[in-house]
């Protein structure tokens, strides 16, 4: 049962105490960490879990008969159950542990894609995709002589659904769409995309890398075929991620890599493969980080994802309105429905310079193309300054950021 204590009254200062990394000065100023879309900070619960595993339980999973192996296996599989509940999958066998979002997309492209794509078939992605949701599809489309179709977006940074209705057809085999844009913050109308895709007989992969920490995800309600996200963007460790897939699809897909837990029996003549989910988990997995992911999801559950999202939305509104008051600032991406991400440019200043000057005041933002170069090309820019919020950010930090942006502009005049 979720602990609703924090949710009842969102107490950001209490939450901040769970993140020791935030309690430090950078260049003589309190750290303001606004680079959460790149990676979130980790609560004590997660770092304690990592330490505890190595200090008390370290053993390989699934095959050992001794107590440590039993403990490690139990904790490892408990994470699978936790993730199943986190995204409301029908069964834990539909949860595959990966290295992260990128590996999940590559896995689907190289297994489902290889079997289901033929010459003349089509894969639809959008202009706002991260490179990780472009390149794997380019690779498999090249290999299978399929066509990669790009769904256009508006200048505000919203998908053009009317264009999608035109592009989707019986030729479309896969639609791979980002749930929430890492560069613009746009929350895409994925339910509509899934409905339209299924009507045309296409399967859908949702890149939930940015959505997973901020939006309630219910894969059964969405009826998505695949969904991927990374541990390190949901307050968990790096090097671990999730691929969700509907059982029937996963059953029909060939293995991705060979060796380790993915086999049932090996002879030199023939190998048979293990059941789900192990069929897709070759080699010794990232045990400690998988177990710590459970702690990260527990942190989100007990804090309350809705409460976190509401808090981040308040920060988004405050920062957006503040930046809109500064004439030299141009917002990039003004979709109506956004998670707590703001991209912006300052007139006459390069985004890299803005990032360095803000760092001098202890403010960590991201600058550059955010691994969405085709999106930047569409927008006619090299990159942006990006601030992205998490549960532990405060209105005071937003105000200091806004003052700092105004001061930079004043000093450069």
């Amino acid at each position: 049962m979720k602990d609703q204590l924090i949710e009842a009254k969102y107490d950001v200062e209490t939450i901040r105490k769970l993140f020791p990394v935030l309690d430090q000065e950078i260049n003589g100023y309190p750290l303001v960490y606004f680079d959460n879309a790149a990676t979130s900070q980790k609560p004590l619960e997660v770092t304690d879990s990592l330490l505890n595993y190595y200090h008390a339980d370290n053993a390989n999973v699934h095959r050992g008969i001794h107590t440590l192996a039993e403990r490690a296996t139990s904790a490892f599989e408990k994470t699978r159950e936790t993730v199943k509940d986190f995204i409301n999958a029908a069964e834990s066998e539909e949860i595959i542990f990966t290295k992260g979002t990128t590996e999940g997309i590559n896995l689907v492209a190289q297994t489902f894609g290889r079997v289901n794509l033929n010459e003349g078939d089509e894969v639809i992605i959008s202009t706002m995709e991260h490179h990780s949701n472009i390149v794997p599809w380019q690779m498999i489309c090249d290999e299978r002589k399929a066509k990669l179709i790009i769904l256009p977006i508006t200048k505000e940074g919203e998908l053009i659904i009317e264009a999608f209705e035109e592009l989707i057809s019986t030729k479309t085999k896969i639609v791979a769409i980002v749930y929430a844009s890492n560069s613009l913050g746009t929350i895409n109308p994925v339910q509509k995309i899934i409905e339209l895709s299924h009507n045309a007989g296409a399967k859908v992969l949702l890149d939930a890398a940015q959505a997973a920490a901020h939006l309630e995800i219910n894969v059964q309600e969405l009826d998505t075929d695949f969904l991927v996200f990374s541990g390190h963007k949901v307050y968990g460790p790096t090097g671990v991620g999730i691929l969700y897939g509907k059982r029937a699809l996963l059953e029909a897909m060939p293995p991705y890599q060979g060796g380790g837990e993915m086999i049932r029996e090996v002879t030199f003549e023939k190998t048979t493969y293990n059941d789900l989910p192990y069929k897709f988990e070759a080699g010794t997995p990232n045990i400690a980080d998988v177990i710590a992911l459970q702690a990260a999801i527990h942190f989100i559950n007990k804090t309350g994802k809705t409460a976190m999202a509401d808090h981040e939305h308040r920060l988004l509104i405050r920062a957006t309105e503040g930046l809109q008051q500064i004439p030299e600032v141009k917002l990039i991406g003004t979709a109506k429905n956004k998670i707590g991400i703001i991209s912006f440019l300052i007139d006459g200043m390069h985004h890299l310079d803005v990032g360095i000057v803000l760092d001098a005041k202890g403010i960590a933002i991201r600058t550059g193309h955010h691994c969405t170069q085709p999106l930047m090309n569409f927008l006619g820019i090299e990159g942006t300054c990006r601030v992205s919020f998490a549960a532990y950010n405060t209105e005071r930090e937003v105000d200091f950021f806004l003052e700092s942006v105004a001061r930079i502009i004043a000093r450069r005049k």
Binding site: G28, H350, V357, R412
Partner: protein, 145 residues
């Protein structure tokens, strides 16, 4: 009178020492140094003149007159422009030998790496390398004449 290379390095060190430990002021000062760099003709802002290894775009071109190397440069970012302006201040108008024999000690003295980060520092190293390569090429050319 033309100042010695190390005198200019000392000048730069002194200028930054006035800024104390205020990193923001130091960065703004670097940008102001860039503002003073003479504009570079657009015909040089092509791939051919880009310094490889910089995160920002840096265009660098040279002339060689009376045994001296004349450097001109520009960048698409103000901080990088400021960084190369310091190298131009030290090296433009010097002989290839003087450039090749310089110990650029001011970089450590002003704490540049901590000021602009490792990526910009790597870019700065690429600028230094490119300028020294030009000097070496002119030195070689001179020795063949």
């Amino acid at each position: 009178m033309f100042k010695a290379i190390n005198d200019i390095q000392e000048e730069i060190i002194e200028e930054f020492s006035f800024l104390g430990d205020d990193r923001e002021s130091a960065i703004f000062y670097i940008m102001e140094l860039g503002d003073k760099l003479p504009p570079l003709d657009d015909r040089y802002k092509t791939e051919e003149f880009i310094v490889k290894g910089c995160q920002s775009k840096v265009w660098l071109t040279t002339d060689f007159k009376d045994g001296k190397v004349i450097f001109k440069a520009d960048s698409n970012t103000e901080i990088t422009k400021g960084l190369i302006s310091m190298l131009i201040r030290i090296w433009s108008g010097r002989s290839p030998e003087a450039i090749l024999n310089t110990n650029l000690y001011f970089i450590d003295k002003i704490g540049m790496k901590s000021m602009v980060g490792s990526q910009r520092s790597n870019g700065f190293a690429a600028m230094i390398k490119q300028m020294k390569l030009y000097a070496l090429a002119y030195q070689t050319k001179e020795s063949l004449n």
